[in-house]
Amino acid sequence: MNDLTKKKKVSAIPYLLILPTLFFVILFTVYPLIASFKGSFFIHRLNIPKYREPVFCGLENYSKLFQSEEFRLILLNTVKYVVVLVPVTVVASLFFALWLSKERFRKFRVAIFHPAVLPLVSAATIWMFFFTPDYGLFNSLLGLFGYKGPENWTGNPKMSLWALVIISFWKDAGFYMIYYLAGVQNLPKDVYEALRIEGAGPIVSFFKFTLPLLKRTTLFVTTVAVIGAFRTVDHVIVLTQGGPSNSSSLLLYYLWQVRFEHLNVGLSSAITIILVLLLLIFTITNFLVSEKGGDNV
């Protein structure tokens, strides 16, 4: 009887401990999200007197967005940006971690990590000069490898989005490396000793053991990388302003433009909801893919 009573008695302490976080999550995430969801069903334009007060319009904002060529292009840009940036950055950060976990390469850690401590605005400003046509450092470096293609990274519609990907890769790969480095350093040494005795080569060790053992780290890094890729906007503002002709415009930048430049609150609320849905789709898919095959580590 006493045991049963003990089992039923639930401590209030864990709930009390999460209260402050819950308060801020409700205030800064849940409430704005509900407000945006509600706002997305209204025409609410601050610079048009008749729409200064919201007017209900049903799904008009969503249908306007999906009919707009501009929005479809920006959506495609965002998906391209995330789909290319996240895998490339995550794979590179894993290889940096494997490389720099070795004692003799430790000294390179700072070099690889240092872009992560720069604010994105500073990183974009530095890269603005790296990308300068004719004499920019990046073009000069490519020239050493025989590159003779176009150099106008920020003005060429076929290159501007990739310029943003390059900056984010440069900045983020070193940061995600830290997580992998922690994961790699915690891998059980005896397993590798056994593998060595069994005669397993480095490729087998990596794919059969290292990668599965780092599954949790990979899930965390990929999730953070996806969220980070969706919410970066600073380098768009500094480097391209979404141009030329929206070729480098990303969803969050467009959201800012519609809300603060076009003063269209209703439409920007609809974009917010679409952005959150996209993030959820990417994150849940990531969880499902990562969790497939069981909780083996």
Partner: protein
């Protein structure tokens, strides 16, 4: 009789109440004028000049004559950052800066969204307000009025100009271009190549944020892209299309400038100063930096016309008063705005920054006369401004400007022909302006 007495008592009561109320108001006004007021003033500082030092000086100087008013400068990167700061503060019910320097062209959106207060009524109570307003160069007040009210005062103003390396012109036996053909020929003649690479471009015309630097070119062909009212744009006009084709010809036909969109605003002045570019289209706000760093003679001109003339548009920021201020704050804010724009300060600000002095008296001040005598380019810019056209100031500016930028950049990059791009731009801009007509 009783009625008469009653009426007399009533009238006396009304009169006494009126006098009492008026006395109370005067007393309140007197109290207001002595009330401690703290004014936050938001400035964009991303310019080629030590604006923060100058504005800190203004705050200190103003305190000497207005001991009850404390000025707290709030610095932000550029005009967009200041505007976003004001919007988020007011929309979120926060404490927005009482004064802000924002683009003169933002007046319609800011007023419609009730972010700003008109200044007309406050100025009407100011002694000598007519003379004060008449003293501004008229071109700078063009975007200050809306709905018969004055909403902003000219402060940090500039114009589109072309700077040229006069030494290179002399060495090549060229004189200042008088028309667009001469400009293209000069740019071609001054371009230098070594093998496949270009060591000096004839001209750089940055087009990452193109409407402003493009407007004088369209005007040179005979049509401004914006109408006299606040809801008409002329994007799809033959003259505008000719202007785009001319820009494209500078690279394709004359090989005198890099091809396509050039998002290189920040590189253009260093390229010019280092002799890597012979002519640049830029803001007059870079004048001080260019004059103090150039080791060659610097020429300044407007964009030459198709056959003759000189074209430009004004630009830059005005001082706005944000909404929701108390009477005491409004009075103090107006006093500080008037102080900032006084002829003496306008002259000093112009000399220190390269921005154009906003008032006629500023140009006749001793300091400005001495500076102009030393740098004749200053007087030249004033002349260029005399014939300047209207900057793209329009209802729903943010959206209309984005539409224009998207399509003109598509034309510059060869993704669409100039005619196709401008037809689409006109169609979308008309739709974006439909709610305002």
């Amino acid at each position: 009789m009783i009625k008469k007495i009653g009426l007399t008592v009533l009238m006396t009561a009304v009169l006494v109440a009126g006098v009492f109320a008026s006395g109370q108001q005067e007393k309140k006004a007197a109290e207001d004028s002595q009330e401690e007021v703290v004014l936050k003033v938001a400035y964009p500082v991303a310019v080629d000049a030590p604006v923060a030092d100058i504005l800190n000086g203004y705050a200190t100087e103003f305190k000497k004559t207005h001991p009850n008013v404390t000025i707290e400068p709030v610095y932000a990167g550029g005009y967009t950052d200041v505007k976003t700061m004001i919007q988020t503060s007011i929309d979120g019910g926060g404490d927005a800066p009482e004064l802000a320097v924002m683009l003169a062209t933002d007046v319609y959106d800011l007023a419609n969204a009730q972010y700003i207060e008109p200044l007309s009524d406050l100025l009407a109570n100011m002694e000598g307000s007519d003379a004060y307003l008449d003293d501004f160069l008229p071109v700078f007040l063009e975007n200050s009025y809306y709905q018969d009210k004055l909403w902003s005062l000219p402060f940090q103003r500039s114009a589109v100009v072309a700077y040229y390396n006069a030494d290179l012109f002399k060495a090549a036996g060229l004189s200042e271009p008088k028309n667009l053909q001469e400009l293209a020929d000069a740019a071609q003649a001054l371009t230098v190549r070594e093998g496949d690479s270009v060591t000096r471009w004839g001209i750089e015309w940055p087009t990452g944020w193109p409407y402003w630097v493009f407007q004088p070119l369209a005007m040179a062909f005979g049509k401004n892209i914006v109408g006299a009212d606040d809801t008409t744009v002329y994007f799809n006009e033959p003259e505008v299309i000719d202007a785009i084709n001319y820009y494209n010809d500078l690279s394709a036909k004359y090989q005198a400038t890099p091809a396509g969109v050039q998002g290189t605003w920040g590189n253009v002045v260093p390229n010019f100063l280092s002799g890597n570019t012979a002519i640049i289209v830029q803001t007059s706000g870079s004048l001080s930096k260019i004059l103090s760093n150039a080791d060659f003679e610097v020429g300044v001109m407007g964009i030459p016309g198709k056959t003759s003339g000189s074209y430009s548009v004004p630009g830059g920021g005005n001082i706005y008063m944000t909404s929701g201020l108390s009477d005491a704050e409004k009075r103090a804010a107006l006093d500080f705005a008037v102080f900032m724009t006084s002829p003496e300060n306008a002259a000093q600000f112009s000399i220190a920054t390269g921005y154009i002095a906003t008032s006629k008296s500023a140009f006749s001040s001793d300091a400005m006369k001495a500076y102009s005598a030393e740098h004749p380019q200053v007087a030249k810019i004033k002349d260029i401004l005399a014939d300047a056209g209207k900057e793209l100031a329009i209802q729903n500016l943010g959206q209309v400007r984005s539409i224009f930028h998207n399509y003109i950049q598509a034309a510059f990059n060869g993704e669409m022909t100039a005619a196709e791009a401008m037809a689409k731009a006109q169609e979308e801009a008309d739709a974006a302006l439909a709610d305002f007509k």
